[in-house]
Symmetry: C2
Subunit: 266 residues, 2 copies
């Protein structure tokens, strides 16, 4: 690896044209979006290594931009950035998953409050159209189904006109996608589509109590579907400790205290 790369050719697969795609501002944002989608659609599985060199080479940009994108993804919790040890796709623990869902519920409650009764006919139609798309991807296409389910909520958030709220919902929804990718069943969005439809109806009719209840219930359901299973292997050592015992080996000192993560600290 790390060949010097012919200097005369700037190594850009995408030429110096002023951004061929529609909305991309900078190339860094491009890399960001590419990685993000790859993670959310599970093309990059949780825990995968993300070497700056390889990514940059593949995407035709320098490490600088990859780095920028990774940093941003790290703040959003989609990648983990261990000091001097590189980046990996995040592998949220169950604790973190619960945290994310808690925050998400608070956010989405706000979305519903802001939107309830104020939904225009056009907006309702946009939402219905989206749900129809979800219906089509149903089961048949796992990753896309997850993505669409997330985008429904993003669409709702965008309709509030609150940019910050939209950003936050975007973040938590992304992380939820990741969490579902790890802990969820293969095709877990069975009933979600109907729940989305009911929610639209409640919002359009202005029934705030019902809409809030539906949203809460919906998110609870999603979390329940995901976290009941809790099959996962967050840390190699934990997994192997069990195997060690059955083989009669000394598992070692139970590893470092599990991150000392207790509720109610300070």
């Amino acid at each position: 690896m790390r060949e010097p790369k012919n200097k005369t050719e700037p190594a850009t697969s995408a030429p110096a044209s002023p951004e061929p795609d529609g909305k991309a501002g900078s190339r860094a944002a491009l890399v960001y979006r590419a990685l993000r989608r790859a993670i959310i659609e599970q093309a990059l599985m949780p825990g995968s290594k993300l070497p700056e060199d390889a990514i940059g080479e593949r995407l035709g940009v320098s490490r600088t931009l990859v780095r920028e994108a990774l940093a941003r993804l790290a703040t959003e919790g989609l990648v983990e950035l261990r000091h001097n040890r590189g980046a990996t796709v995040a592998y949220p623990s169950l604790e973190e998953a619960r945290d994310v869902f808690a925050v998400r519920r608070a956010m989405e409650r706000l979305v519903v409050e802001e939107l309830c009764g104020r939904l225009t006919r056009a907006q309702a139609q946009t939402l219905e159209a989206h749900v129809a798309a979800e219906d089509r991807a149903q089961g048949r296409n796992g990753p896309e189904s997850i993505r669409l389910a997330g985008e429904f909520h993003l669409l709702l958030a965008a309709m509030t006109g609150n940019a910050l709220l939209e950003r936050y919902v975007n973040e938590v929804a992304s992380r939820c996608s990741l969490i579902l990718a790890i802990y969820g069943r293969p095709h877990s969005s069975e009933c979600a589509v109907n729940e989305h439809r009911e929610l639209i109806a409640a919002l359009a009719s202005g029934d705030a109590a019902r809409a809030t209840h539906l949203m809460d219930h919906h998110l609870e359901a999603v979390m329940g579907r995901a976290l009941i299973k809790a099959r996962a292997e967050p840390d190699i050592r934990d997994v192997l400790a069990a195997y060690a015992e059955t083989e009669g080996l000394e598992p070692g000192p139970a590893r470092t205290p599990p991150k000392a993560r207790s509720r109610a600290r300070t």
Copy 2:
């Protein structure tokens, strides 16, 4: 400016020692925190330019790190990053201010819910100590007072043990500080200290309804104090348009439609 800088001397005012300060992970984070504090304490006023070169030179790091810090601050909404036109300290509009407060209220409500009745004696004492510090800075020290008021909420968030919630509260609180810096009265935290005390009491006693109400009321009060005034000059052009008319000049085509920011879009 832009002197080549002697190559033999890495131009670090802080030497290559392994981070003299306690918790700093990377030097980039250091720059981030420095800028952040400078902004929140109004050492850097909203709208100020933030040239990468100058900052890097003053802080003894290269533009790369400054860039990283600015990017992060930009995602948090504390600086604005106009393409090829440099970074400035953000100047939130009243619309944005309202958005931030709306999100903040939802977050802080969650904090209260998570914390109510679960507050340990030690935690309550920590909070009391902080409020005492606020009391001391009262009026006498404007910027620090604002900072401490924000940190109280951050402390609460940290006590939930929900890292994501903590991060989000941190962000919205920072932005609120900025908003207060722009729109708030010079010494506006008069009654906030008492409100903080009442909140602690309610949390400790486990009175969820009262705690939620107090928090809501508290935030409403803060927003009210801030936004009633609404003295500000968000855009040079808007300001000057008025002056142009009084002087009998043609103000030009009213500038581009004001960001087309209407609630309920899409």
